[in-house]
Amino acid sequence: MAIRLISRRLLQAIPLLLGVVVLNFALIQSVPGTFLDVMTAEQQVTDPALIERLRVTYGLDEPPAVQLLKYIGSVAQLDLGYSYRHNLPVLDVILAHLPATLVLMLASIAIAVLVGVAAGIVSAVKVNTWWDSAVSAFAVLCFAAPSFWLGIMLIIMFSVKLGWFPVGGMVTIGLDGGLWRQALDILHHLALPAVALGLFYSAAYARVMRASMLEVSRMDYVRTAYAKGLTRVAVVLRHVLRNAVLPIVTLLGLQLGAVLGGSIVIESVFSWPGIGAVLFDSVMSRNYPVVLGILVLSSVVVIIANIFVDLAYTRLDPRIKAA
């Protein structure tokens, strides 16, 4: 069943991917001057014959429709172009940095979900008390703080003043030791950026979790559970939580793109060596193949992650088996 679901979702993703590629192409076309002008200026190529040859090589002498089809064809073959700045295919440049970004994303999502769900549970169980208000205030504040600014404030507090965490980077340079020590080192570097990003998104989870728990608590089967004589803890843990957590999974899927974007910003604050650094560098040097490649590939990451979210959803909610 899972295989069928995955293949169906992959099929549904094809038009989306096509859309991303077409959008990308439209962006390339809207570069003032042509993409070639930028590249030749960057590489200081002035020989008209060479420029003409490059035009033909890149197919820029052909009508846009043909160029679009060729572009779709090459993306379909996982060819995102070549980065002269890195002297590597764009795909390789991005894939080399993607794992660091994924680690940061996963850690942030974990923090966001854990903190948000816990806060939501507290405020729903203690609804309309001091606890509830405190959680609301926390959520509202977290949701308003720009994550890059929160990151800098965390650096000032915990790295500069207290010296508990490194200011940036992903590994301590020159650290040797076993795998275990290196993993701990990465975690040590990961803590602040993941918290800075995770806190922002935890706000949404806290609110959704609270509303969802209150909604579920009013259901008849919860009253039945109480009537059976179950304790409050048992009812909340065994009956309310499982159903209340469904909207959290939905939100998770909706937010993936935003979290990926957010981690790119946070990476620049903490000099985390992910695709954010590459994107920033490429935007600055007008290295368009890499910029557009990141746009395509990050969309692919979100699409794939959404398929996993869908799978988790069907696991959690048996009612939507065939959907």
Binding site: P15, L16, G19, V20, L23, L27, I28, S30, V31, P32, V140, L141, F143, A144, A145, P146, F148, W149, I152, M153, I155, I156, V160, A211, L214, L254, G257, A258, L260, G261, G262, I264, V265, S268, V269, L279, F280, S282, V283, R286, Y288, V291, L292, I294, L295, S298, S299, V302, I303, N306
Partner: protein, 295 residues
């Protein structure tokens, strides 16, 4: 709506939500009122920036790195180059509000058009437009904004456009849902029965009823747009000729060991503005749907 069209509208159209009851419900929400007051203050500062600080805020006026409250002339201190932070904040308020409002207006325009067209046309148009909405929801927003800004150039119009382009999907979805909920209601059927064109029904009858929740969501889009703008400027890709809160945070980064207030102050300004917008949005939402409040 003209007087003649009012006469042809069949009875039974839902009465506009009563404004006085709405205002009372909004006023009862302390957070929302506080947010509205802060927003008013920010708008006042933005409007009077030229009068309060007539000199170009990007000009150097004093010694660098004067701490806040150290000198009465520079209540919020000066930055690494000796520019008055209070002046930068005041002028930055203008850029921030302008970009936020125009981007949200752009997003609302696109979102309402797409959502209404999808709901009204139905069929394959609906399918295609919803796929388009999904596409823009899938693309990581920050990546898209940075790409557009890098391709089109770091000008304030381009940033605004890019932020507007990534912010419309939720509005489109909400508008579509609202329009669908009205599509088969009696007053719409009655309009159809008296021979009103579908266009006019959508624009004159359904839109005013569907708009209130959409406007509430737009106020949240303003908050999001301000955050996007601050990210772009923070990364140094903003318009270099305009004072911006995000850029001030970015420029202060190199001095966090000695003068961390340069980063802190503009961040607080962003946070307060976004917080107020969110509070006002929540207040409007609760006032619109009083039933939700009882939870």
């Amino acid at each position: 709506m003209s007087a003649t069209s009012a006469a042809t509208v069949p009875a039974g159209a839902p009465a506009a939500r009563r404004p006085d009851a709405f205002a009372v419900r909004f006023a009862r929400n302390r957070g929302a009122v506080a947010g509205a007051l802060v927003l008013l203050l920010v708008a006042l500062v933005a409007a009077s920036a030229d009068w309060l600080y007539p000199v170009n805020p990007l000009r150097i006026v004093g010694a660098p790195e004067i701490w806040p409250f150290e000198s009465w002339r520079y209540p919020l201190g000066t930055d690494s180059m000796g520019r008055d932070i209070a002046a930068l904040i005041a002028h930055g308020a203008r850029a921030t509000l302008l970009i936020g409002l125009v981007a949200a207006a752009t997003a609302t325009l696109i979102g309402v058009t797409v959502g209404a067209a999808a709901a009204w046309a139905g069929g394959w148009v609906d399918e295609a437009l919803m796929r388009l909405t999904e596409l823009f929801q899938i693309i990581p927003n920050v990546v898209f904004v940075l790409t557009v800004v890098s391709v089109l150039g770091p000008r304030i119009e381009n940033i605004t456009l890019a932020v507007g382009l990534v912010s419309w999907p939720p509005i489109a979805r909400l508008t579509r849902a609202e329009f669908l909920s009205f599509k088969e209601r009696e007053f719409v059927q009655a309009c159809r029965a008296v021979g009103m064109s579908p266009w006019r029904i959508a624009a004159a009858e359904v839109l005013p009823n569907a708009l209130p929740p959409v406007i509430v969501m737009s106020s949240l889009v303003v908050a999001g747009a301000i955050l996007y703008e601050s990210v772009v400027s923070f990364l140094g890709l903003g318009d270099p000729n305009i004072a911006s809160w995000g850029r001030l945070v970015g420029e202060g980064r190199s001095l966090i060991r000695s003068s961390w207030y340069i980063c802190a102050v503009p961040g607080v300004a962003i946070m307060l503005t976004v917080l107020s917008l969110n509070l006002v949005g929540d207040g409007l939402n609760d006032a619109l749907n009083p039933k939700l409040q009882k939870r």
